[in-house]
């Protein structure tokens, strides 16, 4: 099958079409299906999809602006993004390796700090980072699992290779969209889904619960797990409620918890009840006003002391942010080498650290080709995409760089791969990334699926939902793709009956 003429291929790697214009093997089934459906039917299914998201309340709320609070769905694209088994096997191995190394790194940083003593990573980069929590020093974390839930961002470069762009080790979100997108895709393309042999993602909630329970396993036989949310006004509230519901554990807010004699309790209708594991979806800063930010009203006073006393487990551990800092990122391949004595299976994107004067001058000279990011920022903020910025914007950023070089890194602009999306009734390529979710407690588990984020504006490389991004389902196949079984071959003779 061939690429249609109105689907332009750019320099980026396209997920569906090879450079020759042929449909890639693992996309054959879907491409055939799309062609038989036609534009009207596709638009109709897109509408059904959006309506079902709105009905389920899979929305984020935009408050303020005079009018009553508006609820919007995160735009969801109809077509799944498909990954063949071999590619996924490599991703899975690479992510497992990476998370193991990062957990060992955190155990070392909050322990003996050998990696600093051996001059693999600079001392000031770690101990000077705002995300470093000295309160965590010498604190026992079961299985050395500091990062229980990780959502790494992967991108595919022009040559088709996957890179890790970012490790999200604090409170990564988006997994509810992975699950909701899957549910929707099963309804949108039931036949194709069945034939394609897609690996299931539906076990994520029970695997998450097992991971969380394994963090308390050695001293409480049947641990009480809770999900701690900042509350209904948080943009990821839907996800917090969704995970709590699917795990069957209480969804608590800070005001539902109380600490007494270094034990954590929740207020129930029949008195106080002990809590053992807190899957917190609240940032480090806000967990405990006694230990971190004093003005926080989202957390629980005294919970960190309860944690230090070993009476409760906080997941992810506070202070994991020190390992996903954009500057520390550049050292991850060396970190893997140091702890595991292996080469990184998934490569990093080439990164220039502006704290180094030589690299800074290189960055300043090449601002028009680089992406510059503030070390502390996330969500697509504080970022300059050189090739898309105006001369004035680049000049402004250069000043900021010179004033505070420690705060910036730069990377070459990578053309993220493109995947077919339904935009205004037409099928067009849009840039996508890949966020798989990795769990780690007693063991490390990679869910065979991911959230594929989509930059919905034509040509845009920014996929963050706060910047107008959307998402789509991600199918991991149990093989490398095959032609539709009931499709006659080129001669019009069914291959099997010809035997």
């Amino acid at each position: 099958m061939q690429r249609p003429d109105d689907y332009p291929l750019g320099p980026a790697y396209d997920e569906m079409f090879a450079a020759s214009g042929d449909t890639r093997a693992h996309y054959q089934l879907l491409h055939t299906r799309i062609q038989t459906l036609g534009a009207l039917e596709l638009a109709d299914r897109q509408q059904t999809l959006e309506r079902s998201f709105l009905l389920q309340g899979i929305t984020f709320t935009v408050y303020g602006g005079g009018e009553a609070a508006a609820e919007r769905i995160i735009p969801t694209d109809l077509f799944p993004r498909i990954l063949p088994a071999t590619e996924w096997a490599k991703i899975e191995k690479g992510l497992t390796q990476r998370l193991k190394a990062l957990n060992l790194f955190l155990a070392d940083i909050y322990g003996e700090q050998k990696i600093i003593a051996d001059h693999i990573v600079p001392r000031d980069l770690i101990l000077g980072a705002p995300s470093y929590r000295r309160q965590m020093q010498h604190l026992y974390v079961p299985h050395n699992a500091y990062v229980n839930v990780c959502g790494s961002d992967l991108i595919r470069g022009e040559d088709g290779e996957f890179f890790v762009l970012e490790d999200n080790l604090r409170v990564p979100s988006g997994v509810s969209y992975m699950l909701a997108n899957r549910e929707a895709a099963r309804r949108t393309f039931p036949g194709t889904f069945r034939q394609a042999g897609v690996k299931p993602v539906e076990r994520y909630p029970d695997l998450l619960l097992a991971t969380l329970k394994s963090m308390a396993g050695d001293w409480r036989p049947n641990p009480q797990v809770v999900v701690l949310t900042p509350g209904v006004y948080n943009s990821a509230y839907y996800e917090h409620a969704y995970l709590a519901r699917l795990m069957g554990v209480p969804l608590v807010e800070g005001r539902d918890l109380a600490v007494h004699d270094d034990l954590v309790y929740m207020r129930t209708t029949s008195g106080l009840r002990r809590v053992d594991v807190i899957y917190r979806r609240v940032d480090d800063d806000f967990i405990d006003p006694l230990s971190f930010r004093r003005d926080s009203s989202l957390g629980v006073a005294g919970v960190f002391n309860a944690y230090r006393s070993g009476n409760v487990v906080i997941c992810n551990a506070p202070g994991t942010g020190v390992a996903d800092d954009k500057a520390v990122y550049a050292f991850v391949p060396s970190i893997i080498k140091y702890y595991l004595d292996e080469d990184a299976i998934l490569p990093n994107v080439k990164t220039f650290l502006c704290r180094d004067p030589v690299e800074l001058s290189h960055v300043l000279a090449n601002l028009d080709t680089l992406v510059v990011k503030a070390v502390g920022a996330s969500g697509g903020y504080g970022m300059l995409v050189g090739p898309h910025a105006s001369r004035a914007e680049r000049a402004d950023f250069a000043e900021a760089l010179k004033a505070d070089p420690e705060n910036y890194i730069a990377q070459p602009t990578i053309q993220l791969s493109t995947a077919p999306c339904l935009v205004d009734g037409r099928i067009e390529p849009r840039h996508v990334d890949l966020r798989p979710f990795i769990l780690s407690g007693e063991k490390v588990v990679v869910t065979p699926g991911a959230l594929t984020r989509v930059a919905l504006k034509r040509g845009s490389l920014v996929v963050n939902s706060s910047q107008g991004g959307g998402s789509k389902d991600t199918w991991v196949l149990s093989d490398d793709g095959r032609a539709p079984p009931d499709l006659p071959d080129a001669d019009g003779v069914d291959a099997e009956s010809a035997l």
Binding site: Q56, G231, P250, R267, T269, G271
Partner: protein, 313 residues
């Protein structure tokens, strides 16, 4: 075992849902009654508004405008739209405790009643619009009944429904039959409207036939054991659910279960003759006051208790 905050939210879902249903029904009856341009119709509309503390203001003298404001006005406390928002916002805060089936009913209803087309739909065909809301609220209650576990959370929600219902019906009765309006209501059409406001016309007819009389209506709406909108039916449910929720708890003075038991006993052992002798307002006032006391006692017992008294042993 249930989080105190969650129990409180579910209780409010029940209250708000019931309030939205009652207000929708009042508006529908009001619009319908005034179609006739009779004295009785005007009187019914006036009673409906008085029962929810909405005196006939000059600006909204027209019953259509009054009903429209009662349903759609977001600025005013106790409109249908605000009650629906309240129910839905509370449900959203305990989304993990409500089954998807019930949540989707409520969410859909909220989206429709607050959406951009709501005002147009109301203006085009108000009775149809209100009928739709009432039917959707019944669907929500049905879905909750059919899919939620009939455990603690569900009981808190139903206590909310029945406390709200008992208070609303008591207030409606008080306005109609305690002589506060300065005259006795004996017009057949006005009495029909009153029964409609309590969704009681057909069940009443089956018990008393088409012989409409204030005394029978009072008896039916206060004491009937089987009609789900009589006050006694509600107080019996409140006591029943509180009994289940109070297992294993010490029942002291001022406990919500004691208050509920007392109120229910009073309705069980009072006759309509006693009410006629003393005037309806005495018993109706005390129903309202005691429902408020139960509400307060529940909050203090289940939600806002002092920590040091409730540590596990």
């Amino acid at each position: 075992m249930m989080l105190a905050r969650v129990a409180d939210s579910l209780y409010w879902v029940g209250r708000y849902v019931e309030r939205a249903e009652h207000l929708s029904r009042l508006s529908a009856v009001m619009l319908n009654a005034t179609l006739d341009r009779t004295e009785a119709g005007a009187q019914a509309a006036q009673l409906a508004r008085a029962s929810i503390g909405d005196p006939e203001s000059a600006s909204l003298a027209d019953p259509f405008d009054a009903a429209r404001a009662l349903v759609l006005d977001r600025e005013r406390g106790g409109s249908v739209v605000l009650s629906l928002s309240g129910a839905r916002e509370n449900a959203r805060q305990v989304r993990d405790q409500i089954t998807t089936e019930s949540w989707e009913r409520l969410n859909l209803l909220y989206l429709r009643a607050t959406g951009g087309r709501a005002e147009r739909d109301f203006d085009a065909d108000a009775p149809d619009f209100l009928q739709g809301i009432i039917a959707d609220l019944h669907l929500f209650k049905g879905a909750a009944d059919a899919t939620m576990s009939h455990g603690e959370g569900w009981r808190f929600m139903l206590i909310g429904v029945h406390l709200e219902r008992a208070q609303l019906i008591a207030r409606l009765m008080r306005v109609c039959f305690s002589g506060a309006q300065g005259r006795v209501i004996d017009d057949h059409l006005a009495l029909v409207s009153i029964l409609r406001m309590a969704c009681a016309l057909e069940p009443y007819l089956r018990v008393y036939t088409a012989d409409l009389h204030p005394r029978y209506i009072l008896e039916f709406l206060l004491f009937d054991e089987e009609f789900p909108r009589s006050i006694r039916y509600s107080t019996a449910r409140i006591e029943e659910h509180l009994t289940q929720l109070s297992k294993g708890r010490e029942i002291g003075r001022g406990d919500p279960l004691r208050l509920a038991g007392r109120l229910n006993a009073r309705l069980t052992y009072t006759d309509v003759e006693d009410v006629e002798a003393t005037g309806a307002s005495a018993i109706l006032n005390s129903v309202e006051a005691e429902c408020s006391a139960i509400h307060q006692a529940m909050y203090e017992t289940f939600v806002a208790y002092p920590l040091e008294t409730r540590l596990p042993a």
